[in-house]
Subunit: 388 residues, 2 copies
């Protein structure tokens, strides 16, 4: 026994007792398909093969890449046939993005991000000493005129980091027209597009816009997928989809060769999960539950807040992005909300330039519908107190 | 089914039919404890807890860190009690080193490596655009006078990368006296010591020298451990041991927060493996088998090569480093050896400055003793042809 006198935490999420924390972009532990993962694991050992314990192939475990290609080819937003030659196994989207930063940029380079964006990736870019410049977005995603203006002013980014579909934190998706325009600018000004597509497969009633890869004729797009949102984040497994030229940059990286394919063992496990037909089932189940939860939050917000806030009902993904009146101060509101037993992420967290203090982000994936409704009620009570 | 017309590889190792390839620093697939891993996996699912599937705690899964600390405290070379507060979960030593490069250096910085060194790490440093300078080593490891000279000449490294114990490729260990001197220079010239200690626990008849951490009074040492050599590389799991101050740099890194603890699921699996008492058993078994194999290779080399080569019999780890006469050209010899059905890594692979062409590295871990002896016989035959 260790004699620390206290226990070290087991999981990342850290919520005070009695607080409904709508700030964490995590799936519900209750929704993790534990029994099905057990079958996938039993299948792994039934084969009595040592392959899952060896250094994995650099591009990724072959059967996993092949089954992933078949799975992706079935998805509506991947209209073209996906070849396993265009896939690369990662230890999750952020690991892929981190490696891409090492391989495609260096300290001092300029990179673009959406404003607002996923705050943790922005910090990963900062850890790589990159100079970040924000591009404004609206309800159709990146505002192309703003992007063009920055490029014409002389900024030369190595890449733009975007979450094209069901964006974090806003929930909006980049329109098809703008996807084409973005590609055209990437060609003209010679930069890569890092497309963080971890929500794309969680669409509710609509088809998400076609993947940026479908408009890519010049090896500009590096798309990052993940099993964290569609299966289980603890497995730390994801993939990159890109041209063979770009895939070979990742496959040939020294880090890849040193340890072999990233998360080889868990990719074998997930390959079994896919072969057993569980992945499609799991995603269908998540889409239905998340869609119901989003509906419940939406109704609660409308009922409790009247016209004080505005938001777009999410069509997929994890988030509500609530806009409050101009004078609202989300950071000041946070401790008051927590006194009322509810928490959230204030808007300023989602930009290094900090212009979003009258916004806040709510997640509807971690709690069941009743708790979510309770959370919104508490939030409204706290807001009443805040505004009075 | 994918219609590539060929199968993508499953594992990293890639050996031509009929060749005994002594070049790969990989463990034997036959030695992976598949049945015991199955027990560890069954234990994971018996608990019916979703914890292994959630985002893991940033520093690592608490019980894993606690059991790892207890395990390490039992090892002879870790004379001090190891606290879980000084440990951090990684996805293998190279992932840890890669993250340390991002956090502790930036493009253009000078870093030192041993000459020769593990060639793949040198390429990882190059991928980070670091300026690498080599420090000579002898049978006691880093030559301190050479290191001091480079420092006095004005070079200011951010860190030195060393494999202190059973070094790759030479098999030698840094002496206790030099460990102290290295620490003293690190303090004086303000640099970190990245200690790649992946072979330390695989000692044969000797006690390895005391860990650099035992001489570290100023938060200079970052030690990288791994389960790749003592359990199974496909699990992609390792750890960092360092001062709490340094551990917090890794725990607070954006990449860590984004995905939660690295390789959470496999760390839960390994925690079960440790709790079942299997890790000590496994290491004892590996030490005995590797020691016998090293003995067999040693005897074969002495019998087949007479006085044409010199080498030190390994006291642990994975490697033989064979020195041939000055005029020998390992790169020229390689294709001839392969014609004779045996392969190896030529010495020049282990240094960016390429001064080791009359050396070659043999690994004795991937094959059983009879195949190893066959391999050495083939090598000797090829050498006879080469020298005639």
């Amino acid at each position: 026994m260790s004699d620390l006198g206290f226990k070290l935490p087991e999981v990342l999420v850290d919520i005070d007792d009695g607080v409904i924390d709508l700030g964490w972009g995590h799936p519900s532990p209750d929704l993790h398909p534990l029994g099905k993962m057990q079958h996938a694991s039993e299948k792994l050992f039934e084969l009595k093969s040592s392959v899952p314990l060896q250094y994995g192939a650099a591009q990724g475990y072959g059967p996993f890449l092949e089954n992933l290609a078949i799975f992706l080819s079935r998805q509506s937003s991947y209209t073209n046939n996906v070849s396993p030659l265009n896939l690369f196994l990662t230890a999750g989207a952020s690991q892929g993005i981190d490696l891409a930063c090492t391989l495609f940029a260096k300290a001092g380079d300029v990179v673009f991000v959406e404003e607002p964006t996923y705050f943790v990736i922005e910090k990963i870019l900062q850890d790589h000493h990159l100079n970040i410049s924000g591009i404004s977005i609206d309800s159709n995603g990146i505002i192309i005129s703003d992007l063009r203006e920055k490029l014409e002013s002389g900024l030369r980014p190595k890449f733009i980091y975007t979450i094209p579909t069901f964006q974090n934190p806003t929930g909006i998706s980049l329109s098809t027209e703008r996807r084409k325009q973005l590609l055209s600018l990437a060609e003209e000004y010679d930069f890569y597009i890092f497309a963080d597509e971890v929500y794309q497969l969680l669409s509710f009633d609509i088809e998400p816009p076609s993947s940026l890869l479908n408009f890519d004729n010049s090896n500009r797009v590096i798309e990052f997928g993940s099993f964290s949102k569609i299966l289980a984040p603890g497995l730390r497994t994801g993939w990159i989809q890109a041209s063979q030229e770009i895939i070979s940059r990742f496959t040939d990286a020294a880090l890849t060769f040193s340890g072999g394919g990233f998360n080889h063992y868990t990719s074998v496990l997930i390959n079994n999960f896919i072969e057993l037909g569980y992945l499609d089932e799991n995603i269908d189940c998540l889409k239905q539950i998340y869609s119901e939860r989003a509906e419940r939050v939406s109704n609660s917000l409308l009922k409790n807040f009247n016209d004080d806030i505005s938001f777009t009902h999410p069509q997929g993904g994890f988030y509500f992005w609530l806009q409050f009146p101009e004078a609202f101060d989300a950071e000041k509101f946070l401790p008051l909300a927590e006194e009322h037993g509810v928490s959230f992420r204030p808007g300023n967290a989602f930009s290094a330039s900090a212009f979003f203090n009258n916004y806040l982000r709510l997640t509807y994936t971690l709690y069941d519908s009743n708790s979510l409704a309770d959370g919104v009620t508490r939030l409204a009570k706290a807001y009443k107190e805040y505004s009075s």
